[in-house]
Amino acid sequence: MNAARPSLILPDRPPDQVVTLDEYLRLEGYQALSKVLKDYSSQDVTQVVQNSGLRGLGGAGFPTGRKWIFLRNDAPFPRYVIVNTDEMEPGTFKDRVLVYANPHTVIEGLIIAGYTASAEKGFIFIRPAYESSAYRLEKALEEAKGAGFLGKNILGSGYSLDLVVHRSAGRYICGEAKGLIHALEGKRPHPNIEGHLTSQGLWDRPTIVNNAETLAFVPSILRNGAEWFRNLGKRPDAPGNKIYSISGRVNNPGVFELSFGTPLSEIIEEHAGGMCPGYEYKTCLPGGASTRYLSKKNYDIGMDFVSFEKLGHGHRFGTGAVMVFDHKTCLVGATLNLMQFFARESCGFCTPCREGLPYMRELLQLIENGDGKEEYIPILKTMSGQMSNAYCAFAPGAATPVMGLVEDFAEEIQEHISQKKCPFKP
């Protein structure tokens, strides 16, 4: 382990080498679980997690400890815990690498979450494209069970938890927590559930849903303390570590576990090996497809929730999945591709999303083809704003890159319209 940059959840070696149970135990694995079961009440665990400043790393950034507190002491049984490994946000592949390389840290985090919620059953919800990871997770569950960390009466504590891997069949909306609940229940995964999942989740019972990376940090927080974890971050308001996934026009795309708040420029230049030869940095989507294009002037921004909240103007940190675009790539074309994705992946449950996204896609297609008109620009802007009327966060997320294109890269749209063709095509 690198002392200057401790890697908590991603092993310091090629990511396709799996951490076995033996190795995980040598790295103090399952010690947090054993400590928690022996000495900690549910409130104690929640308090430590809350003090650590850990936030949901699936994109929303909701404080993890606070989510757990929502589950009331007198809530009915059975209760459930779910780790969301659906990860279908374009550009995002951190959880794939994580659960494959170090499945036990996710499982230990999930068992601790289960204990905190007094859950009796848990699910690892995973997309079909990650079958090799699903297989690894199943093996790891067997190993954990064999070693007494899972199943009936865990480590003699009296607490029992059953965990299974649930394979999904591939749709983006299943990653939305409420859509995920319906998917698990064998229903069409529309996100139409009123109220909080912590009181009415799976089968209408209290349920905690966390992202895989979020849960993976929980064991190290409980082993070393909240204060220690906070200090790993670049700033007091960016506590802990974060896995960044970098893709696009860089020399060394991949995942990197770094201090939370590491500057974008450092991630691109030092860790991702800089831009490919012959290409200049133009912009990036900093946290997956539903974040806003980041202007060149923000190249040194700290990659964390608070830095983006301060930036305002609809900017969000998202998943920390940086998609790097170069000066030869057309942003109208890129946004059109994103809208093709979102229009296709819309579950179709509510009207603004089902009707609005294809409409925006058509306008972008016309502009890209050279058939665009000036009046399309304000329409795109209005339509993007209207997406906030959709039922879940999918449609406003989908509109975010469109809004960024219209407001920050308007000259590219103008060139398409005035030249009556895509200026990036010969």
């Binding site: 229940e185 064998g186 229903k187 497809a289 074309g333």
Partner: protein, 164 residues
């Protein structure tokens, strides 16, 4: 394990499940593996196993990308067409595959070996442009690598030449 055994295991699992519907996707995957795709008969069989109406299961079957309600080839090629793969040459990859196989996206080769399906981000942006064939990752792709991949898969599954 034989497909029949898989099905038997699944029946046992459904019997002891608190909520059999939780197994709906697993049932569809298993039947699909058994029959090659989710046939009409398989859909009825699955619905009965799960205690769902055929319509309820059809609602799921038609929703998901990796459930096939129409016949597919022995190898199903899911080519990623989302942002990073798009930027790094997805279109030329898709065109090349179509040309080599002599089919359009959505089609199946006459010998029943390959089906070509574009799909949204498969989460291998660090290997872009990328594709999955029967769940296995291939990428970053070039025309040369596609040639050798197709050749290898053909060799692994020789189709008997039928006489006229």
């Amino acid at each position: 394990m034989q497909p029949e055994e898989n099905l038997e295991n699944l029946k046992q699992k459904i019997k002891v499940a608190d909520h059999p519907r939780e197994l709906a996707v697993e049932v569809m995957f298993t039947l699909q593996k058994h029959y090659g795709y989710l046939t009409d008969a398989a859909l009825l069989e699955g619905a009965e196993l799960l205690g769902m109406t055929p319509l309820e299961l059809e609602e799921l079957a038609t929703f998901y990308d990796f459930i096939y309600r129409k016949p597919v080839g022995k190898y199903v090629i899911h080519v990623c067409d989302s942002t990073i793969c798009w930027m790094l040459g997805h279109q030329s990859i898709l065109d090349y595959l179509g040309q080599r196989l002599g089919i359009h996206p959505g089609g199946t080769t006459e010998d029943g070996l390959f089906t070509l399906l574009p799909v949204c981000c498969i989460g291998y942006c660090d290997h872009a442009p990328a594709m999955l064939i029967n769940g296995k990752l291939y990428g970053p792709l070039t025309p040369q690598s596609i040639d050798s991949i197709l050749e290898e898969l053909r060799a692994a599954c020789p189709i008997p030449q039928e006489g006229r």
